[in-house]
Amino acid sequence: MNGEDTSSELSTGLEFAGHALSRASLDACVKCTICETQCPVAAVTPLFSGPKFVGPQAERFRNGESVDHSLDYCSSCGTCTLVCPQGVQIAELNSQARAVMKVGHMPLRDRLIGQTVLMGTLMTPVAPLARAVLNNKPLRKVMEVVVGVHADAPMPPPQSQTFESWFAKRPTPAGPFPRGAVVFFHGCAGGYFEVETSKKSVEVLERLGFEVLVPKQGCCGLAQQSNGLFKQASASVLKLCDDLRTAGKDLTIISSSGSCTGMLKHEASEIMGVDDERLRDVGTRTRDIMEFLLDLHEAGELPTDFATVEMTVPYHAPCQLKSQGIGKPALEVLRLIPGLTVVDSNATCCGIAGTYGLKKEKYEVAQAVGKPLFDMVKATNPELALCDTETCRWQIEQSSGVKTEHPIWMIHKAYGLS
């Protein structure tokens, strides 16, 4: 598997429109270095020379080749782009340069991690066994040596039933659905690992009076993208757009997978340069579920008959949610629940950055990045934390020992659904 398909990867790595766009954005860099002040990776290790260095600065020296291998320490969390006052697409430039760098010598691990669906479908029927393997230290050590996934890194929790199977087998909801139909996009993690989150999302939407349609859907390709496999990722995301479009034109697409939403709304176009009407159609119709609830609230259409939940809970807004330019909608919605005190972590990043923190050579860096967050979570509530994306929840849970749920769980509960 290693090293195959080099020429076509090279061409997609170098010649897509997105690179031209990001590269043009480097013209806006005034070297103010604000990006470096917020970079969570540069803060904890000198191995990474920082987003300005590897981004707009190094890009002027690149001619189809990435000679600066330290850029691989960039976790692609996207904080630099978020904080740049000049609009430079720093993280996007870095992701692109990394994709180019990896052409021809892509580690086996980066390909495996990228295959989210494969991982899920393989694990689901044999969940107890998979769980045993993933929790088995000696076996994980073997995985670390062979594949390069750190033995202590968080891995997805296998489930015994997929969301798809639950959705198909459950009794048909009675309705009525006065607010019409919406499309639910569960994402791979929401389909195979975070099944409860998907279920609760559907139930909340139905409680609000929406008919929830769930078309058969594949992977968005995010993990492939973040590991530089742009060609495969582009094919995946467009296939997904086709899938989601089968459910109906003009319907709002709602997702509880913050990272997959980010892929549809941001990464596919800005990093990979996918320029396709299908993506534009789906991307502009897609809403994060908490964003959707906040929109309803602002329109005066969200019932706030929440039960009181006497609790103080830490909330962490994941990088990929922040990159969508929607602020922190979960924070606003959760604050409508009486009795609930939500404490914003205000932490930059948990360290996992998709699959970055899984890799054995990045694991320590990722743990150092996340440490302030883990400490904050433990200090705020040792029982429960809230966070919108899957890999971040797994990272927080694994590293802090605090159970971490999607905010929709709290809404579900406050609506008396659980």
Binding site: P85, Q324, E332
Partner: protein, 414 residues
Amino acid sequence: MSRVVVIGAGLAGLVAANRLAEAGVQVVLLHKGLGGLQLGQGTIDVFGYAPARVSNPIKAVGSVATTHPYAAIGAKAVLTGVDYLKKLLPELLLGDPESNYQLPTAVGAIRPTCLAQPSMIAGHVTDGAKLVIVGIRGLKDFQPQLVAENLARTPLPDGGRLRARHLWVDVPARDGEVDSSGLTYARAFDDETFRVRFAKAVVGQLREDEIVGLPAVLGLKDLHAWRDLAGKLGHRVFEIPLPPPSIPGLRLSEALTARALAAGVRIVPGVRTVGYASSGDRVTSVTTAAGLGGRSYTADAFLLATGGFESGALNLDSHQVVRETLFNLPLAGLDQTPLIHGEYWGPEQPLFKVGVAVNPKMQAVDAAGIPVFANLYAAGGIIAGASGWTEKSGDGIALASAIVAAAAISKELA
């Protein structure tokens, strides 16, 4: 509840957001990236040169030309703003609106400013003072010999001279790193064990009565790191601000942001505000762009605190046309031609005084003085008539225009 959208997270945007939130208004703060505080020196200038060196800044505010932003803002608002910031951030800002500090810069010039951080105050120049300027080998943005020699050959504003020498220490911020940013050092200084190591490297080289000048990297989160270091050295110390990213500026930015969040301001970072909708003489909403997603924010009033040319709030295109990039507001100051001239050390470049004209409520107005929209206000660097970095007036204009705008908006919405 009424809602206000503030665009921009520099000093003007953050102060206005805080003031509005305190007044009970729901505030959404939209910003493209972190604002201007990290770009500046981390003190609050009110008036430094008019064009002669100013010793009483508030007095200078009261005697500006009618085209100057302070003419519309007024000295009272400046006093209110200065008082507000001092009360809001007592650990970060000290000073007196009737008297400027005269503080050394990182090239050894002596710079007037109104409010300064406590960590800088010991640098206020006095006749006969003995300074030692300490450079850190791993920090390239602070060249102590240049600072010391320039200070020593400069007559002081109030007469007299000081003595200054320099020394170097080599204390890496992190193992194996020779090229550390100011921020990396600031994080190191947050840690007491580093301060112990640093003090040990410096203390033996100090002479009696010397005041120790250091780059402004003495802690980011720990606002008392500098005081602790002074104690360990047994000497007075002061910080000298560096080029961006400014650690003192970051301290102010983080403190004002934390205040705003605590006051309930909803901050949406990483979004470019690219368009607006209006109805009659009112702006009804603004639209942000981020990736394929875009959102609209409706509000009762809008405050434009997007800065000047440095942020792209104002743009000069290749055909030499200047525009305000969000609302395409009418601009003042374009009658000065040429807008740019070739004398680098010559008179101020007229381009950088171009901006939006405002009335005493900080509503953006056209050439006839009529508000462009009844509910559109402007604050900070976008306002025409001054180039803050030349006068050392940018912070005061930002602060006081934000105070005025927030008050006008609150009153309007009440």
